[in-house]
Every structure is written in C-alpha cells, then in structure tokens.
Amino acid sequence: MFPIVLLSVFGILLLFLGFLKSRAILLPAALLFLLVSLAVNFIDWNKTYLYFNGMLLSDNLSMVFTAIVLGSAFMVVALSGSFMEDESAQPAEYYGILLFSLVGALMMIGFENLIMLFVGVEILSVAMYVLTGSDKRNLRSNEAALKYFLMGAFTTGIMLFGMALLYGATGSFTLGGIRAYAVNPQVGLSLLFYVGLLMLLIGLLFKVSAAPFHFWTPDVYDGAPTLFTAFMSTVVKTAGFAALFRLLSISFSGVYTFWWTILAIITTLTLVAGNITAVYQNSFKRMMAYSSISHAGYLLIGLAALGQQTKQAIVFYSLAYSVATIAAFGVLLLVARQRNAETITSGGSSSESFDAFNGLARQNPLLGFAMAVSMLSLAGIPLTAGFWGKFYMFSTAVERGQIWLLVVAVLMSAVGIYYYFRVIIAMYFREGATAPIRVAPFYRYVLVVATLLTIGLGIAPGLLEGLF
C-alpha cells in the first residue's frame, strides 16, 4: 500500500524535477525514489491488511512480488544512463511514466477486487504503449507502439467483457465473492460464469504473452527501445503472473477441473511456439522476445498444475528470470551502443544480431561473464537460479501428476539450450573485433549484483524459503 501512494507522488515529483536545468539529478532521484518505495514495502511485514475499503490486499506474498517488481525496476532504471547522453530523450517523463506504471503493477499484485485488477492492468499497459513508442524518430518503435496499443485495446475489451459476465453471474467483483459463488453455487454455475472466466483469463494471458495470444510480443519487444523491452519482459510479466496466480488460486481454485486443460494446452502451445521459433532468429533482441514467450510457458506450468508448491515456484521463477533477463539486456545495451558507434564509421551487420557478440568475452571479460551466467540461467543449467526455477516448476507438474506436460517442458528446455548457447559460443569461441567497452561504475555494480544473485540463488535456493 505504501509503495503505491509513494510511487504516485514520486512520479509527479519526477515530472517536476524535469524542469530543472540539470538533467543529472534525475537518475539518482529515480533510483532513490525506487529504493524508498522498496523499503516502505516491508513496513507491513508479517501482517495482513486490507486497504481502501477492501480493494487491495497487503500480505507477505504480495510484498514479495512487490519487492521483485520494484527490484527489477530499480535495476532497469540503473541501466538507463544512456538517456542522459541522448539529446532528444526526455528522461523526466520516462522515469515518471515508469513509476506510474509500477503503481499499476502493484495494483495487479495486490488486487482484491476485479475493478482494481482492471485499473492496474490499464495503468500498466497505457504506460507501456507510451514507452514502447518513446523513440519518436524510429519507425519501428512507432509501429510497435501502435501495434501494442491496438491489440492491447482489443484485449482490454475482452477482459472487461469477462469481468462483466462474471459480475452478472456472481453479483460480486471481489475475489472472495466470486470464490463463494464458485465453491458453493445455489443452483449450479451459470454459463455466464464460465465464459466470463475464460475471457478474463484470455485477457491476462495476452498480457503475459502466452500463445496463441503472443503475436504482438516479438514485434513490440523488438521495436521498443531495449531498456523498455527489459522492463516489459520482467516487470509486466511478473505482475501479470502474480495477478493470474491470485485470480486462479483464490477465486477459481474450486473449478480447477474446468480450466486446467485449457491452461495446459495453452502452456504447451506457448512452450513450443516460444522455443521453436527462437531457434531461427538472427537478432539477439528478437530471440530474447521469443525466449520471454517460452518462459511465460514455464511459468504457466505452475498455474496449470496449481497446487501447494505453485506459489513458491512462481515467486522463485519470476525472480530468477527477471534477474537473468535484466543482466542480458544490460549487456546488449552496451554492445549495441558500441556497435552503433562503430557502424557509423565502418558499416557492418545489425547492432543487435548474434554477430555483435563475437569475441566479446576476450576484450570484456566482465560483460562476457555476466552474459554467460544469465544465458546459463535462462537455459536452466544447474548451479544457476534458472535451474532451480525450472526444478520447482517441474515438480509442481509432478505433484499434479501431469507427466506429459513435464515431458514437453523438458524437451523444449533442451531446444532452449541451442539458442542460448549461440550467444555463449559467439562470445567465447568466435573471433570478433570488439573493442573494450567502457562500463560506468554503477552499471558495472548492477551487472555484478545480478550475476552474483543468479549464482547465489543457484547454489543456495533455500535462501528464499520461509519468506512467505
């Protein structure tokens, strides 16, 4: 609750800070604001409160998700130093919108009422439409924003329709009310309820880019400025899964038999579409877009096999995935910028293709190592956080006895190795003319922390236990 209020105020503050002559204060201010919000998040630790007339819930789980979201946002913002060098960029507005979008994400994490869910989704999405198109002179960025907006608006309609149907069937917008209806129907569940449930699910599945609602993802992730791609693929995804988990585990766990097959089919589709298509990509950024689809698939396993372990599995997986993804995009940002500077003088391949990483590790051991660790983690190699994320996820499937889902997931994770290792091969085993890249100290800290976190969670995954 406190972070929501604070972030709203801080967002406005940042907009006004933008009127100052010097831009230098913006980045530290944004980081400070995020830190403060992160700190006040834990005020209610170990207590459960309902806020705003029962609209928002604050418990340990929602605080952990909040911490993941705010932590990811902090790291993304910390990597945003390049705004300061770009004349046409408007950092105050970017940071302000980022903070506002976080308010939406937090509402999605803690909603107790479907209206809050809707408002949260909209705040987050609208902010993302704007940020996707923030590179105003880049046609691809404009195109991506428009696509994202059109498809997002379309899905919002479907989601709203679903909510209305649910209200029609249950007479309640609250999670508890819907649960009461679903668990203990007076005359049997109405058809409206089922259709509403499916439509609401579809709306949220679109936001986390599950197949077959994933078509926007590669185009948008590819077109958006890399920094915001990192933000979208971590914060938005985590918030989306937190919302899905809340919805399914609280309101709809009573009708598990109705939705799990649908979700299992969607999971399979997502895993196959994400992993298989990623194989053919030549652009690293586009590959990461497909990779984010495939990770949505792994996260969905936990929901399709909803059970005791799902909570822990989703929290751990989102954390592992977010940290590794941010580190990977962080390195990409540096490499692409270096490449762009070089191509202006010499000309060469695209700055975001796999070739851009050739020989990176030789001249920039730190960047190479950070990238290698995140790729290993995303591929799920042991002793990285990603391995345990997958392990937790797979054991939820085992717990429910969904062996075939497990088989698909394991096979697809083998395919995943192929494209993640392309980067490692390029960095370590290919010759390339990458010059040493200057890395700002703070940037370096972020990469080091992300890498250490990935390895640390891989060695001692028990650290997170007992938190919630």
Binding site: I12, L15, F16, F19
Partner: protein, 123 residues
C-alpha cells in the same frame, strides 16, 4: 421485491425498442423516397463553402488542436467531480474536504505541468 423475471416480463422493453427503431427506419425510408431527386455532376460534388475542392482531405493538422481538445476534455470531465461533492459537502465533512483539496491539488499540478511544458503556447 420480485427477484425472478420471466422472459415475458421483458416484453414492454422489446416493444419500445422496436418502436424506436421502427420510427427511425420508417422516417429514413419515407423521406428518401418522397423527396424529389435531381442528379448532376455539380450536385454530386463535395461542397466546401462554395469554393472549388482542392487537394486531399487527409492533410496533416497541427497537433496543437488535438492537444487543446484533449486537455479541454480532461479538465472538463474532472471538474464534474466537483458537483456531487458540492451537493454532499456537509455529509462528507472534513475528510471529503481534504480529499477534494488533494484532488484539486493534483489537477492544478497537472495544469502547471501543462503550462510549463508550453502546450498552451500557440506559436
């Protein structure tokens, strides 16, 4: 209160709907067929204040029109909140007053931001 409705209870609604639709449709058809029609090239041309048509209708317009319009709608709609508040002023009491001050404060902050950004400067 009767909580269960039979489909037949909706009959008046249906009748009204049909009447409303029917009136519009009938009027349109009747006026269309009754009125005299003379077609010529001049008459079929798009009409633009008596001046001959020039160029494409889809010309770029200044974004400023759009911004001003949006801002107008924004502030206009938000001011609507003042009416119910004013009506219930006594009932809502001090809490309501503080909330409204916060709301107006945010609105004014936005207004200040708009002005500082130079959105309202026409040149």
């Amino acid at each position: 209160m009767n909580t269960s409705y039979l489909p037949s209870d909706y009959l008046p609604v249906l009748i009204q709907l049909l009447l409303a639709l029917g009136f519009i449709v009938t009027t349109m058809i009747v006026t269309h067929s009754v009125g005299p029609k003379r077609k010529s090239q001049k008459k079929d041309d798009p009409f633009e204040c008596g001046i001959p048509v020039q160029g494409d209708a889809r010309t770029p317009i200044s974004i400023k029109y759009f911004l001003i319009a949006i801002l107008f709608v924004l502030f206009d709609v938000e001011v609507i909140f003042l009416y119910p508040w004013a009506v219930n002023f006594k009932g809502l009491g001090l809490t309501g007053f503080i909330e409204m001050i916060l709301f107006m404060g945010l609105l004014l902050a936005g207004f200040y931001y708009v002005i500082r950004k130079g959105v309202l400067k026409w040149e």
